[in-house]
Symmetry: C2
Subunit: 275 residues, 2 copies
């Protein structure tokens, strides 16, 4: 481990905007921390792409974040957590966590009947990573995965409360309802934005698990363990949260401001292929 | 102009799979020609990205196609035609055509009342390129553009004939119907795949223009003019059509075989960022 400055920022990245739901939880739960956020808006989405490609893209982003001397990295994207995290862990000497393990942990404490559903991108479902982690802790639990490729475009179009989104959600979720799951992991960082619609369709008996919440808890614990928690409140006028994207910075800013209530003043464009 | 071999292949590229509708038209109309197709499946879609990014990506693809000594290039993507074609034309010394000008030409001969609708990605509509080209030939014609960002994901999910696609199409198209257009340009190479649904909603009075058809005609004329038409029929066993993608070659192959009826045996993966 290199010597790391506890006042350094945390790097958070995603294929685009979804990871903002994770950044938001970190802001809420550890408000002293600085964040450098990167969204790969030039190459988004990741969820329909291969392990090799997602790993190559993620590696470039980690190199970019390290130019900002981050003290830790949060892979705020389920697809990148599923496909790239294991590789990235081997390659860097600062703490790095994803959203899948925290999501698993939350689901394990929520389920009573041991039947857990996971909705996510085609890539995350195909990787079977949630099943693998859940089985490691609870061999007898049953995990049902369902890829929901239309949710991300519907959410990015703003149809969070819309009969079309409800109809598509009903199609995706019916088989999970029939399988009698009592816990549903929102295995893509976009999905908390349609939490209401998902809850309406699954009914009050099913617990919806948002891995973002548990990720922020784990991050806080990890930083605490390593003596890396920032104990200084941000000073007035300090630019505590900085946002970088690989394309369409203005559009990102508008979307980010609809999710995070801190007044995001700017997002800078980076040519990520150079890293 | 460099000395070009008329037996060389034509390069055709798109952000992903949509350009296959253009390749299909070229195969139908000039069956002697060889084609090298490239789909940028690692970075798809282009339609929500910026001019700068789409131009950078397109430039890399042109460099890749030139390593195959193509005699001409077809930009089989409306977004790349709108954003990058003008730049690319300056940079290479072989013929290059896009799909926008041919689409414009077809619309101008179809319209009777001079009211033309264009449906396309947010990028193509934002570029106003169809309006610009139509106004150059027919100053008094009126062009109404409408971005339809959900069509591509719905088509890629296979919902070509589905009440959800009809409902979304109705929302996008109602304002164009109210504006009394008599011609609708399908300004994204995916859209011909939902032509039936679009026709149902627009009604029989509105002509749907598929720029792919006119693009193949223009390509044939252009090659003829330059003495570049291939006059030899392909020999038995020759690999006349070759497909390259930047990711997910197997998935591409399945989709391509559903569109093109030539039995696509293989698609190779290329790391396009290296070009």
């Amino acid at each position: 481990m290199a010597i790391v400055d506890k006042y350094a920022p945390i790097g958070v990245f995603d294929s685009g905007i979804g990871g903002l739901t994770v950044a938001r939880e970190i802001m809420r739960q550890i408000p002293n921390e600085k964040i450098i956020y990167f969204g790969d808006t030039a190459r988004t989405p990741y969820g329909s792409k291969s392990k090799e490609t997602v790993t190559r893209f993620s590696r470039q982003i980690v190199r970019f974040l390290q130019t900002h001397d981050v003290k830790a990295i949060v892979v705020a994207c389920n697809t990148a957590s599923a496909y790239a995290l294991e590789e990235l862990e081997k390659e860097i000497d600062i703490p790095i966590i994803g959203v899948v393990k925290p999501g698993t942990k939350a689901a394990l404490s929520a389920t009573k009947n041991g039947k857990i559903g996971v909705i996510a991108t085609a890539a995350t479902i195909g990787s079977q990573i949630y099943t693998k982690y859940i089985k490691e802790s609870a061999e007898d639990d049953i995990v049902y995965g369902k890829a929901c490729p239309l949710f991300v475009p519907l959410i990015e179009e703003g149809l969070w409360e819309d009969p079309v989104t409800d109809e598509i959600a009903r199609r995706y979720l019916t088989e999970l309802i029939d399988l009698d799951i009592d816990t549903l992991i929102l295995g893509c960082t976009h999905y908390p934005l349609i939490r209401k619609a998902l809850g309406r369709i699954m009914g009050p008996e099913v617990t919806l698990v948002n891995p973002a919440y548990e990720t922020a808890i784990e991050l806080k614990a990890l930083l605490g363990e390593k003596g890396l928690l920032n104990d200084k409140a941000p000073t007035l006028g300090e630019n505590q949260y900085r946002f970088y994207v690989s394309d369409m910075a203005d559009k990102f800013k508008v979307f980010a401001n609809s999710i995070i209530k801190y007044g995001i003043l700017s997002a800078k464009t980076v040519n990520i292929e150079d890293y």
